[in-house]
Symmetry: C2
Subunit: 758 residues, 2 copies
């Protein structure tokens, strides 16, 4: 029987509450003053640049979405695509884009206000920046869960009322007989019918993640190229060649640089985590539906549980945000502590709620263990990132010391630190996977074990509302610093925004831990959910289904377990086809990174030329008597990013399709596993090497190893410049690549099953 | 029945012929003059430095071997290690080391003679360098095949004559009865007995690869650290800071630099390819024994065929060496062509011989297809490497162009080129694996398919005698150039040695293609052979064997096929334990690279200090009135390499053992696959990025983008310096890491099967 608990109402309710609070925080932030006219003017420049860029990006993305939509419609008509996919694809993309858009809009309004707040007190600055970050946090979780809830109840309604004849289709698939007239009385109470319906619904919903991850990839890659082209251009010519400080108004690329922080770090990150958030919930729900089906007696708690956990997480995050309070004379360290109180408080609330859910029978105690494993893994990865990238520890200081011997040794040492640093996240994620699997399934029950892995991801992301707030906080503080510098505010204001910026770097490290950790767990759960899609398509194509039943010797497709799929599709590592996929997945990670780095290089090259041209042709810039043409630089970054993001993004969509068509299911699984395993290491390496170089440079700037202007500092700047595309373009994009390739495979599973050559 | 063909005699005979020709080429080379007294003196310095280093390296390696030998003996007494392993381990290590030692000894004698030859004519220089390289080529294949032949016939003799009671042990294992008295008459003709004996023999022989790969790893890592510490030190202080040219006698690190070419590129490469050569033959033989057993009627051609192919390859290579002839007025291009005539001629001869073997029934026509796939894959990978690293093409020129904007963009672009370049080798190796599998097994017969993959590796390496000659040629020419420079020979001599050096860079690219391609194919074949080891240990531990038979439902262990192993050990990619292994394997690649790069950094740092000290404390060096203390630099590199090589090498040995003990067979397979897939991409990236940076710098030095001394050139030098440890330490070591981890797993399979926790 379906659950009669009223708890599921928390799902839509909490998502609306989240959106309400986002609006509330936005309004509150807007009440703060933007400061002087100069500050307003600068903020306006950045806002306009960011909006102009997003408009262009959405235009390109819109075209890609339109083309994919048409392809999905054609495939649906051909009968190898779920008919809801075209719409699900669009809504996923829409909400993901909307989350990024609103988050970014907020950020661009918040930067001058944060600078103004910081001119009053550190605490005031923190409050404005943090609450603005919270807008994005709650927009993401609010829209994410709302979209899921809408789809879930709509699809249930459609199937239960036989709209489009879908209810009867399921009935016929099961071989149930009866006339259309007695539809609602007859089938809707049949246990087999309910099971099958639920599998249909959850696997359909899964595909809506592809829209979100396509949008996210474009946002990350496009934003990443934009921000780094501007940054590299500003640094190489402004800082190194002309010798003017960061964010100096004389630097023509400085506005573009500040725009970049918004479009890359804010909008890109919002879209990225929107996708992880929805993906983890949906994959876990699909795995839950499969369990419910196997267990025979239907219980929709298996499907609703991850959504309920997410909903509780929203409430806990809101409470957490209000726990972040500081005194007016707070130091940077006490600021960090107050942020930690917020996130730790939310986590504890969620744990209590989950224990309560286990007590109420929503899931077994093993799942509690899985969620704890996920939460712990996220925290450990974050701390590991902090160790390898913060200037408080040996690795980053070592890089700074190597800078004494020039840029070459700085690069070698930074690469080595990045590569070394893979061990903590990998050992942690391995432990997290095994623990969450073991807790939930006791190593004997695969289906429950993987369900546990899904919950580890859901648990890790349940506090997203507040962790994203602490994460979006960073670029806002960074921009506030830029605003203060350009508006020539007193030195202590810049010092305060710098303190906030450094705090942001620390929380960003933790945030990155959650992002990469949840991506790995989500991808793992999605791959298993992929097999559920395959099962569905086997059921829809009778001769394939019959072949499967024949060769595996099972009684019906519904009874097929993981081992039957392994047998039938030869999903062992010795299958040369699967091995081919593993190699290709590994290759995809490297080639994708190469493409995004090349793209940054080309876009940055154009920016370097332009900044040099302005210094050369507009004589008064360096003396401060002439205004640089900021808009030109904004334009160059925009066009560069727009042109360069297309090819790598399309490759990420096309490769899984082509591999599926040639190598079939085993090839796809290999590709996804290879991409996950290599991509994870590579992403960690890129993120951490980049972060370490950045902080090594800052450590030198603090006066160590010769300080600013020394040869060591120049070497440090080279390291930082190399690290920029590593940590802000390629590394974070790889995160999405892993998920997008999986999502594309899920969505195209019908085509793979029916048309593959092997 | 065992084969009665007399063809197998070619195996020991050709290996002795190879050693004879090696001696002949060595004697002939020694007849050439070493030139002026100054040239002799310099060559003597380099020779002494190299020998001093090797002595120290062998001391450390000797201690490691002694400890491992004792551990193996203890394990053998405990019954979880094959009793022949301790000795096999030592002989493998001994011959591998001996090959490297003799190759290097020859190279150090050849450099001054090559320089002297080049002072007469380009062709004369080529002949001396190439024939000297051939010494190493034939030493490697000669000792490799001789060792295999000795073991094969000795073990057959031991089993057939029941020495140590081994023959009867096999008989008892099979449940055959009878008294010891009628031993030779009774059992030795029993088909089952012969099968089982052969499986015992081939799997025993397989383990001798561990000695070879342990030796190879130390040689590559130690030599790689040595050579790059010296190179980076010489470049950073000598070229960049003091502004003196490469190989200038005023540079204190220049002798160490030349010693490094010998200990790293010659001795290291020799040991590396010795291991690949033996590994591919032995793995294929073990797979052949398994097939023979399954097929029921025993035919030792399955086991001997890969050895016969290798033996034919030796003869073909010798003929090929004599085909390398040029006119006295040859240009660099015609030199390359004459080398190509040699290698292509050998390849064609081998193909004809293989067709003949198929005709005589040594193997099916599918195997011919597999060998061709392997040969073709090696050539394509070599050409791809050439495209991405030669200054004749866009990628390298693009890096040179980026150098105009400084070191940061040079690094970013070079990284991108390296990552991009992974696509050709990976697509090729994927195609090679699938083609060789398909040809030999038609996608339905796994055992024959994998046997085909083994033959692809054997085929690729069959021309090793001559390809290694063209490969070792490079460092010899490089040293000859150093000798010419230091001895202040006329400018045209240096130009000729430079032409030879560039030719060496081209052939090295092809050589690297063979090295990495064969490593991947060999590792793949070894992993399947690993399961044969597991089968053997299951047979030796009755309760484990019974459990296996019980759970898989087969009639006897001998009948277990790959799918039974997949079922029993859950070797599918969804098994979290195997997935954990995949992640850890990926991590191992990154961490190992980080360690070797850090090691180079530390050793190079010490060298930089020393060179700076000498310039500072010995006033006359730069004016040429005082001699630098060369020996001090040699000493520093030696001590640095010796200290730094230990930890990464031990890690490579320990990790597979620990993973096996914790995670069991599935974890080990995951680790090896993850290491193979990520390590392959990473090695290609490191090798090609390093090569491209090197050539981009040289391209600038030719006068492009500002030429020598320009800012672009300085940026190019930074790129080259970063690339040095990439391409000469970490990249090539990764090659061996992949194979060594597999070998360790093979050797420790008994411990894993009996003691693993999971």
């Amino acid at each position: 029987m379906e659950s009669t608990s009223s708890l599921p109402w928390i799902i839509p309710v909490s998502s609306i509450i989240a959106l309400g609070f986002a609006y509330f925080f936005f309004k509150k932030m807007m009440k703060n003053s933007e400061g002087t006219d100069r500050m307003k003017e600068i903020a306006q420049y950045v806002r306009e640049g960011a909006m102009a860029y997003l408009k262009r990006q959405y235009k390109v993305v819109g075209i890609v979405f339109a083309i994919l939509f048409i392809i999905f419609v054609i495939l649906a008509i051909m009968g190898v695509q779920n008919p809801f996919v075209p719409i699900a694809f669009l809504t996923g993309g829409f909400f993901s884009g909307l989350s990024g858009f609103l988050g970014m809009k907020t950020a661009t309004y918040a930067s001058a206000r944060t600078a103004h707040g910081a001119s009053q007190s550190l605490n005031k600055g923190l409050q404005v920046a943090f609450r603005s970050g919270a807008v994005m946090g709650f927009v993401v979780v609010g829209f994410g869960l709302l979209d899921i809830a809408l789809w879930y109840w709509s699809l249930n309604y459609i199937y239960d009322n036989n709209i489009f004849g879908l209810g009867l289709k399921v009935a016929h698939e099961l071989g149930l007989t009866g006339s259309d007239a007695i539809w609602s009385l007859d089938y809707i109470t049949n246990a087999n019918w309910i099971h099958t319906k639920m599998v249909h619904i959850t696997t359909t919903m899964l595909t809506f993640g592809m829209g979100a991850s396509t949008q996210a990839l474009f946002a990350r890659v496009g934003g990443g190229i934009y921000t780094k082209a501007a940054d590299v251009g500003a640094d190489l010519v402004g800082k190194v060649e002309a010798g003017i400080p960061e964010d100096d108004p004389r630097n023509p690329a400085t506005i573009a640089d500040n725009v970049g922080d918004n479009v890359g770090d804010v909008a890109g990150m919002g879209a990225d985590l929107y996708e992880s958030y929805c993906g983890s919930i949906l994959a876990t729900a699909a795995l839950g539906a499969a369990i419910a089906m196997h267990d025979g007696q239907f219980n929709d708690k298996f499907i609703l549980a991850p959504m309920v956990v997410a909903a509780i997480g929203i409430i806990a995050s809101i409470i957490g945000v209000f726990m972040v309070r500081t005194k007016d004379d707070a130091t940077a360290k006490s600021l960090l502590n107050s942020l930690l109180v917020g996130t730790a408080g939310s986590s504890i609330l969620i744990l209590i709620a989950i224990v309560g859910m286990a007590y109420l029978g929503w899931f077994g105690w093993g799942i509690v263990g899985s969620v704890v494993s996920g939460l712990a893994a996220g925290i450990i990865i974050g701390q590991g990132t902090e160790y390898y990238t913060s200037d408080g520890y040996k690795p980053t200081r070592g890089i700074a010391e190597q800078a004494l011997q020039g840029p070459a040794t700085t690069i070698i040492d930074g690469m080595a630190v990045g590569m070394y640093s893979t061990w903590i996240p990998i050992v942690t994620i391995v432990a997290g996977i095994i623990a969450s699997f073991g807790f939930a399934g006791g190593f004997t029950d695969f289906a429950h074990g993987v369900y546990g892995i899904g919950f580890a991801a859901v648990g890790m992301l349940s506090t997203l509302g507040i962790t994203l707030a602490t994460d979006a906080f960073g670029p806002i503080a960074d921009n506030a610093g830029g605003n203060a510098e350009m508006a020539e505010l007193p030195k202590e204001v810049r010092e305060r925004t710098d303190a906030l910026d450094m705090l942001g770097n620390t929380t960003a490290a933790t945030g990155k831990g959650f992002a990469i950790g949840s991506a790995a767990l989500t991808a793992m759960a999605l791959m298993v959910a992929y097999l559920e899609e395959v099962r569905l398509w086997l059921a829809k194509v009778p001769e394939l289904g019959a072949d499967f039943i024949d060769k595996t010797g099972i009684s019906s497709l519904a009874n097929a377990d993981i081992y039957n799929f392994v047998d039938y599709y030869n999903l062992n590592v010795f299958n040369p086809i699967l091995l081919a996929g593993l190699f290709l997945g590994s290759m995809m990670s490297f080639v994708f990174v190469a493409m995004t780095m090349k793209a940054v290089g080309r876009a940055a090259g154009a920016m370097v030329e332009e900044v040099r041209r302005q210094f050369r042709e507009i004589p008064g810039i360096l003396t401060g008597t002439a205004t640089p043409e900021y808009a030109k630089c904004v334009e160059i970054s925009t066009i560069g990013a727009q042109r360069e993001m297309l090819f790598p993004s399309l490759l990420a969509i096309l490769v899984p399709i082509v591999v599926g068509l040639i190598f079939g299911v085993a090839g796809v699984i290999g590709l996804l596993m290879g991409g996950l395993v290599t991509g994870f290491s590579l992403a960690v390496m890129l993120n951490n090497a980049g972060g370490a170089w950045d902080n090594a440079k800052k450590y030198i700037e603090k006066g160590n190893f010769g300080g600013k202007g020394s040869d060591a500092h120049k070497a440090g700047v080279v390291g930082d410049t190399v690290g920029d595309p590593f940590k802000d373009t390629s590394g974070p994009s790889l995160n999405i690549l892993i998920k997008l390739m999986t999502m594309v495979s899920v969505v195209m599973s019908g085509v793979t099953v029916v048309y593959s050559l092997m």
